[in-house]
């Protein structure tokens, strides 16, 4: 499988460091499985996409499906430091409009501690 996921937790916020590609098959399935598992434990998730080289249709679908699942759980998923390739595909498909995107994991973590109107600004 060409995707490595490292999960860490800080102040009840789960950070998933993704390395590799998020594409049709095992990779997208694994990310979906990990996010669904985390949604049972926390309402705050950060996906660090700094090392994601490719996101295909299935990967995008996984992100959108995860967004819907998070909404059902009253949870929030935010992006940190997406690679240029990931940022481009999120933008061209308008999936970026569903998520808050931050330049670093620290910024994403801080945003969870701010009032929503300030965090999203």
């Amino acid at each position: 499988m060409a995707l490595n996921l490292q999960v860490s937790t800080s102040n009840n916020i789960a950070v998933v460091l993704c390395r590799g590609r998020i594409v049709f098959g095992e990779e997208a399935d694994e990310l979906r499985r990990v996010i669904l598992g985390l949604l049972n434990e926390t309402k705050n998730i950060v996906l660090n996409f700094a090392w994601v080289g490719q996101v295909d249709s299935s990967g995008l679908g996984t992100l959108v499906a995860s967004f819907i699942s998070a909404r059902h759980h009253g949870a929030k998923i935010k992006f940190a430091a997406p690679s240029p390739a990931a940022r481009k595909v999120l933008r061209t498909t308008r999936v970026d409009g569903l998520f808050e995107i931050y330049d670093s994991t620290d910024d994403a973590l801080k945003s969870f501690r701010l009032p929503p109107n300030i965090a999203a600004a």
């Binding site: 060409a2 049709f24 249709s57 819907i68 498909t93």
Partner: protein, 303 residues
């Protein structure tokens, strides 16, 4: 109670992978991906062929310091004695013509330098696990400028084809990356929706490389569709409802996805479907400079 060891004769024979050349990193990669396989080494292609003739070797990785043509020559000789050995060509010198020759002689895959260790590891794993691969990619006709293939509808064959595509497409960046990504989306769509990932079904592929344009045609064996009817695809979402297709997919029990057409459209200059909807053309233009024309390319011989 101690377990009784199985008689040696009942154990399946250990599979063998032959690594050609002296690259320690390559051998380490193979050892990591195939921990249960026996690794044989050969210093060069002559020694490699001698080993293949002597013992049943399931997989060969050529050395990355040889040319693509040298490795295709080795592949042809291996085919005479081992028709099903999976051979992955690694090379420091490649041309589209040598990649086509490799496909014709049923190389499993082809990588030229710089080689991504992640991609190579994935391909070695596919080569080790795939139950049947020989007839996955059939070259119907091919010159470096115009290639026609029949490709079996399974994901592993798609991964192999995409690696060959990456090697054949002598295009500038970022056009190469864009057309490769768009082609991948349309190929997987064709295999999934048109061919139901049925390995008995084939998709037809054409690749046309002109001076300022590359064109890919993908035809699937399905009944086709209309872009207006596909509620499971993001391209049919109203602008103010980016979630509609995914909610539809969830309700129908479909896997997450549906962005293929949208992604492909954003990466190429033209995306054109046939009336029936089971054929699609991807067109990408590039490099409108004042370079001289290459001239008319004719086939070497006519039937």
């Amino acid at each position: 109670m101690p377990s009784t060891p199985l008689p040696t004769s009942s154990l399946p024979p250990q599979k063998i992978v032959l690594v050609v050349g002296s690259d320690p990193e390559l051998a380490a990669t193979v050892r990591t991906v195939l921990p249960d396989w026996k690794i044989e080494r050969a210093p060069d292609n002559v020694a490699a062929l001698a080993l293949v003739e002597r013992m049943p070797i399931q997989m060969v990785l050529t050395g990355s310091d040889t040319s693509g043509n040298d490795d295709v020559e080795l592949l042809r000789k291996i085919r005479r004695v081992r028709s099903h050995t999976r051979l992955i060509i690694l090379t420091n010198e490649s041309t589209p013509a040598s990649v086509i020759s490799a496909m014709r002689d049923r190389a499993f895959s082809y990588f030229s330098k710089p080689i991504s260790q992640t991609s190579l590891s994935l391909m070695v794993q596919l080569a080790a696990e795939g139950p049947c691969w020989d007839d996955g990619i059939e070259v119907i006709s091919a010159t470096p400028a115009w290639i026609r293939l029949a490709v079996r509808c399974d994901k592993e064959t798609a991964e192999r084809l995409l690696q060959f595509f990456n090697e054949i497409a002598d295009l500038p960046e970022p056009e190469k990356h864009d057309i490769a990504m768009a082609f991948r989306e349309m190929l997987l769509n064709a295999m999934e929706h048109g061919g139901q990932f049925d390995p008995n079904q084939y998709v037809e592929i054409s690749y046309l490389r002109a001076r300022h344009m590359v064109l890919c045609r993908v035809k699937d064996p399905g009944q086709g569709f209309s872009l207006d009817e596909i509620l499971h695809a993001a391209c049919a979402n109203p602008p103010d409802d980016p979630l509609r297709h995914q909610i539809y997919r969830d309700a129908k029990g479909l896997r997450p996805g549906g962005f293929g057409v949208l992604v492909a459209k954003s990466l190429v200059d033209e995306l054109i479907y046939s009336e029936k909807g089971n054929e699609v053309l991807l067109v990408k233009y590039f490099g409108f400079s004042q370079e001289p024309a290459r001239g008319l390319q004719l086939p070497r011989s006519r039937p």
